[in-house]
Assembly symmetry: C2
Homo-oligomer: 376 residues x 2
Amino acid sequence: MLCHAASQMGIRIVILDPLPGCPASSVCDEHVIGSFNDEDTVREFAKRCGVLTVEIEHVDVTTLEKLEKQGVDCEPNASTIMIIQDKYRQKKHFSRCEIPLPDFMEVDTLRSIEEAGEKFGYPLMVKSKRLAYDGRGNAVAKNKEELPSVVASLGGFERGLYVERWTPFVKELSVIVARSRDNSTVCYPVVETVHKENICHVVEAPADVSNKIKKLATSVAEKAIKSLEGAGVFAVELFLTEDDQVLLNEVAPRPHNSGHHTIESCYTSQYEQHIRAILGLPLGDPSMKAPAAIMYNILGEDEGEAGFFLAHQLISRALTIPGTSVHWYAKPEMRKQRKMGHITIVGPSKISVKSRLDNLLQRNSSDPKEALVLLL
Amino acid sequence: MLCHAASQMGIRIVILDPLPGCPASSVCDEHVIGSFNDEDTVREFAKRCGVLTVEIEHVDVTTLEKLEKQGVDCEPNASTIMIIQDKYRQKKHFSRCEIPLPDFMEVDTLRSIEEAGEKFGYPLMVKSKRLAYDGRGNAVAKNKEELPSVVASLGGFERGLYVERWTPFVKELSVIVARSRDNSTVCYPVVETVHKENICHVVEAPADVSNKIKKLATSVAEKAIKSLEGAGVFAVELFLTEDDQVLLNEVAPRPHNSGHHTIESCYTSQYEQHIRAILGLPLGDPSMKAPAAIMYNILGEDEGEAGFFLAHQLISRALTIPGTSVHWYAKPEMRKQRKMGHITIVGPSKISVKSRLDNLLQRNSSDPKEALVLLL
């Protein structure tokens, strides 16, 4: 999607990806096959780029730092990737910057995690500091007795763990913030993200919350991003609590699943915005050009052929629904719960896009107003 | 742009283009370098395609016909390309189908063109039957005395010429019509095209004409396309006359410059629609998701570096204007009047997109209401 935005503007993209025939390989100018965790590979790759950016934070950041010192232009900066790829370090950073977030603490022994349990209560969220995404690297201990097995399931304390106070949120929100090289920022409309088994499942834009909450979420997100270094698009995932607090959950230093809808619904997509930001071009208008959008992730529902069959059935239905755009990533392998594509529905109202999603998923709407729209 | 739409949906595209490094080469799955006028090349190329389509009508249609007989799936059909690539044949076809169009007649001698001049009056439009586009292959004789030189300027009668009665139109309109493999059609909103030196310069969507004219234009366009064979997206260029007649000017059997705005402004772009049509997928919603759009072609204003400099100045301004998307085709050579890219401005009203265009072109608006918007 980043390659599409770049090529539309005539900007050349060279990608580094270990997989021959990876999705981006057919839409970039050149594909260097190699690991983004290998120092030599990253160094050689950087020589070919005017600006180096990342689409995944799990890269060899030590090499990025060295390259920056040699004058390579990394956006966002290595310092930002370093803070973000270690979730505990990320929390410490945002806590120091006075961004509201759930209580957390590092744990490295059974004794320290038991202390944390006493302090924060149960259920207790236990997390890996690194390489955690889509719920991987997270586990919940319901009580003190579960702590040893939960720690073991995450690979043990040597993996690097921390705990968080359980946050009984009412909604999860997300704000995409773009920051230019001159540190000016623009924020996309606040969206609601709905997760299923810890994986982003549905995104509703704009979020169905009060203007006061929208303002608060936007200001928390903007403040968080202003504390980091380098240009680009960032996703700020937030919890909205029962008492109308907005707490930072985590930040991604790149275009994000919660911003996929922007391709069809906003004047400037998050991808074009990222390109504009890292190249030092003026930031584009992040506002929505249509009243409502909803994004549905196509997750693998089964392995192999059976999974492809189910995905194709879903896509066939999507193609019959007005305002619907199908994105299929053409990943070579289908796996259960893998993000294989996404579907965005744009429409004249929140109610219409929601009822179209119900149609797509062949489910009856629970909302009588929506059911009426379906009948019309 | 067709490749972008296909790759978004995970559909593989192989292109045939004679130029190594041509714009589409970095966004397709495979680029076969070769001429679309060479029979062997086209035949070999066709073997690799599930469906064969064209983005230019000046192809070797005899080969397409042979391939169709051998079972190759060409969309739209060779018969359609054959009708359209010869403009005289195209007029005869639409005339037989009772589509309203300006009077025309074949001319092959000085005597016959003089007779045509007496019949249609002057100025007289003289046109080449083939390989005509962007005003190339058209010439105007102001009087009988100019006929020999005008004929010579078009390459002589042996080139294949016809004449058309001069149409004093008040606006040029265009309708993109998509036809699926089952012959169902959908029509995009009527747009106004503004030409400068015979090259499309600005497209306004929707056109500023009455609903009655919109209906008439849509019905003429739809009837014209229903008379052709094969699936795909077609552009129907129309003249609106002083007495509210809508006459067909010409048809393009492919996505068209007058539909570029659909990428940002419509639920389904003309490119995605073409892909859906030729593959037999359900046609998408052609309606606009934003109230107004305006498209401005970036034409080369000078040769080489000087031309690039001027284009870059224009693009720099475009990037500062809200709702503006820049498309730069990355053609390797800049030439005067060459289409190097385009800019689409989408916005909440016709007046706002027009005043943004005035801003882009650094011109003062002639409309006082628009000038007011600029001041606000």
